[in-house]
Amino acid sequence: MVATVNKIIPFSVVDGPGNRTAIFLQGCNMNCLYCHNPETRAKCIHCGACACSCPTGALSFENNLIHYDPTKCVNCDTCIRACPHGSSPKSTDMTADEVWHAVQKQIPFIRGITVSGGECTLYPEFLTELFTLAQSHGLSTLIDSNGTLDFEHCPDLLAVTDGVMLDIKAFDSEEHKRVTGRDNRIVLKNACFLAREGKLYEVRTVVSPGLFDAERTIIQTAGMLSPYLSVRPIRYKLISYRPMGVRTQYANTLQIPTSDQMNYYAELLTAKGFKDIIIT
């Protein structure tokens, strides 16, 4: 199976426990206002608009296709700013075998892999194939997801997935639509299902005051999940909104929470029995 890969980070410290290779897939079915890597949202349509923007000549446009030469790229992100479609010319279609080959180089320095995005569950068969390879070589497998794929209907994928890091961007459906453009019924269903199955490794909520009622989301999410903490401990990651990478039209309107606010939310979680709480 093939997936469009935005990038592979050989050693990642922030995508799950220990040292992991993180694979970012291209394409997302949500439109979160605070998305900090909006260039991973859409697939490249080979319009050619970015080609002449590249200051180092790493991009060329021939036969109606964009060609990317990573050896010339200096990661200045000019092409990403030039893209009119919220995409990146630097993504590559790769098979699960090809991605696995790129992961193998990091063995034995990593304990696992994490697939993120974009929204990686847009490629469930690819994930199943990649995770089967990873697990058979002793690596743990984590999915970083917005929760729009109904995991209950994907037993093959779940069987080779050690855990899911799930975004709960708002508990209330209307608020969720305002933040992401989509309803969250499946997201919440997934949260309970994964928690019951012992596959919910982490829940995360991005906090931006005024965008949605973070206190209510955190209390309701914690209330919903606290019965499952005995199945497997669930980490709750509270993420302060940061403007870095965010599209300028939204970055100007979104607020950054204070550390007091974040600590208050952490206390709410502690009161509901969560022990592993991270504020970033």
């Binding site: 050989p10 050693f11 410290v13 922030v14 426990p17 220990g18 040292n19 180089k105 990091q106 063995i107 034995p108 320095f109 990593i110 304990r111 991270i278 970033t280």
Partner: protein
């Protein structure tokens, strides 16, 4: 003793007067420098022909360096006393009884440290502190133990005025080891250097994670590949000075180093380097080391008269010496340039292979050369990847990739190191400043240590990129102390001056953060 010119005598007298008048040297630093100046007037060693034009020349042409050991070595460079014997039996010369509690044990060690010589005049090894102290900490609660350890470590840092002073812990987790690390994390001291002997499956993860958390604050402990050192040196090995693996109850007579980049400058190309220049310089350095060793053993009287040897804290038969080298990166780059080949050390498979073939050639030479009085290491010296001197310019430590040229990805960096660490039982190591995000995921560092040690890497050090105390090359210095020295103020540790030189000449603050 050979005569010397009156001109040299007068130059040395001027130098001594400069030392006396120095506004930045402390009293202890002046006394040590004056002793070195006096020693430089002696000419007693039987020097090999050709040494002078390889050693006593300007820095950019120097091929052999004896690291300021002096002209008439009065003691071995690195001395590794058996402190367990002290704890068990006391010391006759110092009139110390075996300690009976933690207070007495710490006091006993502090007294003994003041009588352990070395090239720096301070002890380069302070003992396997966890196992030495474990029986004594059992009798006190955590708070009392930590109060006593805090006082002990404060005493060490303010009286052992040189950070080439190394304590060891591990590989097994102990309460004493845990308490020591907790106190070190709190104190953030430059002295002592500290190594955790680590072995996966023996050192448990909790203990290793505590070590990583401590290192992110205090730049110590470093991690030594215990399994590898035991295979090479046996169970009774220690890590001393920078990161030097040496036999317990012995040490190293001497350490000289090849400056590989300058040897490459003499060569027409790779072939000339390997067939002529390198063998010529290695032979002279080995014979120079032989001479130094013989003087120490046969003439200095150290082993007959010093109480450490007389009472059996050290044994002459447990000594060896270290055959050092620096600047492999520059050597490889110069040779590639002379051959008209593209590529740089650290970034190119051909460069890595060339580098490894050079180290292998040095290793083969050393295994052929019969070294006097090195029974403990099979009659041969031990290879050592030396960390550099403060005035080294364009000379990278040992086999390290130059600062500023590290590969973008840490995996590529580690896979280059993997070719070199195995050749250096008496020490090599690499250093990684670590990003603050790791504080929330110290297992990240542990995974890298585990993977590295499975891949035969030998020694790794980490420090938090924003910490005050940082690892310079193989020793610790506080940035705040360097700043004081830069303003012309006195600083307590002699190594701060070395750190300042390394920051200016070696770009130490510009290491790639991982």
């Amino acid at each position: 003793m050979r005569d010397i010119s009156m001109q040299r005598v007068n130059e040395t007298r001027d130098k001594i007067l400069d030392i006396i008048k120095s506004p930045t040297l402390t009293h202890e630093q002046k006394v040590a420098s004056m002793a070195n100046a006096a020693d430089s007037l002696l000419e007693v060693l039987d020097l090999p022909e050709g040494l002078d034009e390889l050693m006593n020349v300007p820095l950019d042409r120097k091929c052999i360096c004896d690291l300021n050991e002096g002209h008439a070595p009065l003691r071995p460079r690195y001395i590794i006393p058996d402190y367990a014997k002290l704890i068990k039996e006391g010391c006759k010369f110092l009139q110390l009884q075996p300690p009976t509690d933690l207070y007495e044990a710490l006091n006993c060690l502090l007294i003994f440290y003041k009588h352990v010589p070395s090239v720096t005049n301070f002890p380069v090894y302070l003992g396997q502190l966890d196992t030495l102290l474990e029986p004594f900490v059992q009798e006190v609660d955590d708070a009392t133990a930590k109060k006593l350890l805090r006082g002990f470590l404060l005493h060490v840092e303010r009286t052992i005025l040189d950070s080439f002073s190394h304590a060891n812990i591990g590989p097994k987790p102990t309460r004493a080891g845990r308490l020591l690390m907790e106190v070190e994390a709190e104190l953030e001291h430059e002295v002592p250097n500290l190594t955790l002997k680590y072995e996966e499956g023996v050192t448990d993860d909790d203990f290793a994670i505590l070590a990583i958390k401590t290192a992110l604050r205090a730049a110590k402990p470093s991690f030594a590949n215990h399994r590898m050192f035991v295979q090479e040196l046996g169970e009774d090995y220690v890590i001393a000075s920078c990161y030097n693996g040496l036999p317990l109850g012995g040490g190293s007579y001497t350490l000289c180093r090849l400056i590989l980049g300058n040897i490459a400058k003499r060569a027409g190309g790779i072939e000339d380097f390997k067939s002529n220049q390198l063998p010529y310089v290695m032979d002279i350095m080995a014979r120079y080391m032989d001479t130094r060793v013989r003087f120490e053993v046969e003439e200095s009287g150290f082993f007959e008269n010093n109480f450490l040897a007389r009472e059996g804290f050290i044994h002459r038969e447990r000594f060896t010496a270290m055959f050092g080298l620096v600047g492999l990166a520059e050597c490889v780059n110069i040779l590639l340039e002379k051959e008209g080949r593209p590529g740089r050390f650290g970034h190119d498979e051909y460069a890595t292979k060339l580098g490894e073939s050079i180290i292998k050639q040095i290793n083969d030479f050393n295994e052929q050369h019969q070294s006097p009085y090195c029974e403990v290491t099979g009659g041969h010296y031990l290879l050592h990847a030396q960390v550099g001197l403060s005035d080294d310019q364009n000379i990278s430590p040992g086999t390290r990739i130059p600062i500023g040229e590290e590969p973008d990805e840490m995996i590529d960096h580690l896979l280059v190191l993997n070719h070199f660490h195995k050749y250096f039982p008496s020490g090599t190591g690499d250093i990684f400043p670590i990003d603050v995000t790791v504080h929330q995921n110290p297992e990240y560092v542990l995974d890298i240590v585990k993977g590295s040690f499975r891949k035969e890497l030998r020694y790794l050090s980490f420090y938090g990129k924003n910490s005050d105390v940082i690892r310079i090359t193989g020793y610790l210095v506080k940035r705040s102390e360097i700043e004081k020295l830069m303003k012309g103020q006195n600083v307590i540790h002699d190594t701060t001056a070395l750190g300042m030189g390394a920051v200016i000449n070696g770009k130490v603050l510009e290491r790639k953060v991982r």
